[in-house]
Symmetry: C2
Subunit: 321 residues, 2 copies
């Protein structure tokens, strides 16, 4: 059964909206505890009740079951490094006790957590981000060629042995942003690492085109515990390539690159061959390039809004000015 573009978006942006059904939204939210840091008036993520029940909360934390909050009680003068250590120690303990499947996919990369106004509060191991339901950040680039026969997109297939979503189709270049990294530098680095694209071409030609945001509820396809929240920001880039420039796998994460026509990409999307969050980046590309329009896509307005979900948590500022 072919997936519609709205179904692809719903697969990725799968957390309910308050305005659709206020009672259901509130009931669903009761399955989670709010993750907070003392001294900061913001919910930084949502932790599934079953995770709250199993996580080895040390004395650094206050778990309030009536307010449904889990609060890190760092000292008032704590640095981000200290907060990170307190969180990290308990995550390490979880690994030691083998409590969570998702931590078996240990990445050894640190993801940042921001408070109001984009204040950097702490960082934590990437694979633990979904346990705390914190916002994560990445950059996705669509490399395309425009010639007399039309527009074609460079589409990689993920390696068969990749830990997550093996063998699925992906965006030309995509990667997560660790603490301290900015979107532009992330995409330049990933373009070299994943697609062997020359740094000079990427720096001079790549265009920032906005961002796609959504709240994903992890399902079986992601592996590990399900119903964990994964709110994400993906900075979106386009790179128009000369037909003579051929991306090629630069690490062992990509099996191969194919240059696909728009109908070929659309058919692969409809067959569910793209990794879910890469599918929505393609849908965004089609909207930005006038391939999907109000006149040919029945769910146009719902799709555009859901590609840009306003996240209910403080988010980063990557501004360098």
């Amino acid at each position: 059964m072919a997936k519609s573009n709205l179904e692809l978006v719903k697969d990725c942006d799968s957390f309910p909206y308050y305005e659709d059904d206020r009672a259901y939204y509130t009931q669903n939210l009761s399955k989670y505890y709010a993750f907070r840091v003392s001294g900061f008036d913001a919910t930084l993520g949502y932790i599934l009740n079953t995770v709250v029940g199993r996580f080895p909360w040390s004395e650094s934390w206050t778990v309030d079951s009536s307010a449904q909050t889990v609060t890190l009680n760092a000292p008032a003068d704590a640095t981000p490094a200290l907060r990170s250590k307190l969180v990290g120690d308990d995550i390490a303990q979880s690994v030691k006790l083998g409590l969570f499947e998702v931590l078996k996919g240990w990445r050894n990369e640190k993801y940042p957590v921001y408070g109001l106004g984009g204040e950097y509060l702490l960082e934590m191991e990437r694979s633990a981000a979904c346990l705390f339901g914190i916002v994560t950040y990445g950059a996705h680039m669509t490399g395309y060629v425009q010639d007399a026969t039309g527009l074609k997109i460079w589409v990689p297939r993920r390696a068969k042995n990749k830990q997550t979503y093996p063998n699925m189709l992906d965006n030309t270049v995509a990667g997560g942003m660790c603490t301290g990294e900015r979107p532009f530098e992330c995409i330049v680095r990933e373009a070299m690492e994943e697609a062997s694209l020359p740094e000079s071409i990427v720096r001079e030609t790549v265009m920032a085109r906005g961002c796609v945001t959504y709240t994903h509820v992890r399902d079986a396809r992601a592996g590990g515990e399900t119903a964990l929240l994964q709110p994400e920001v993906e900075y979106v880039y386009d790179l128009k390539l000369d037909p003579s420039v051929i991306p090629k796998p630069g690490d062992n994460e990509v099996a191969e690159f194919q240059l696909l026509s728009i109908p070929e990409v659309q058919e692969a999307l409809a067959r569910g061959e793209f990794k879910p969050n890469c599918a929505v980046i393609m849908v965004d590309f089609f909207i930005r390039h006038g391939i999907l329009t109000a006149e040919n896509e029945p769910d146009y307005l719902e799709i555009v809004a859901r590609l840009h979900r306003r996240l209910e948590y403080p988010t980063a500022s990557h501004c360098s000015k």
Copy 2:
């Protein structure tokens, strides 16, 4: 005091968000009645309490002050034409009694109202749309020139005697969509009427680039009653023009066109010279063209999300397939 880009967005998307402050959102919503049509399970707009108190509701309506709903009780087999007549009769009575300032700006154009799944329910006079708080639809196009000196935008100034926002700066071409009109045909028509752009150039070159959505709360600048809700969908188009093509006023709504550089447009935006909803279309253009980026705009994520608000009402499908 120069306006930031986020302030420009907030000027336009001025209705609160539930996730920011649940208590305030709910309290603010209590200033409005939900507009409904019997037989259709959806809120179609929000009507300010003071409007509910003054509007001459005929026997076609049920006003429920405990549920805070105003429901049009059309017969179960009513056609859109009949529903439109029932609503239109009471709007006409309001005009006769001189009850509302906004109706003094009578447009003699009909705006459609849609139920779930984009079902067409009824239409009403354009100037009454904000009394009922229904979603309205328009199309905005940015005409630009790219030459050796960079990108420049054709910016019109509204006529001094225009009813709304006189003398302010506007998008190259913009217009509201009446019942039955689709976005592409709307922008082609308006490009000829407002900017004297040749139809063939527009049809062949204009590119659909998505849409911008927001919920505006009318303030004094709009004229007439304040605090009325105006949720809007603006389909967004770009038109790259050859430097030899010069737009010129085609009707009496535009005073003049100027070709402005990006810094000139940004300075005019910061001075508040653009009509509020045209300002956000410019901000969207800057994001889509890599002029505003995550690295140079501190409020990038909040801006992108709020340019694409998910409206809490059923919306149209303009799909012709």
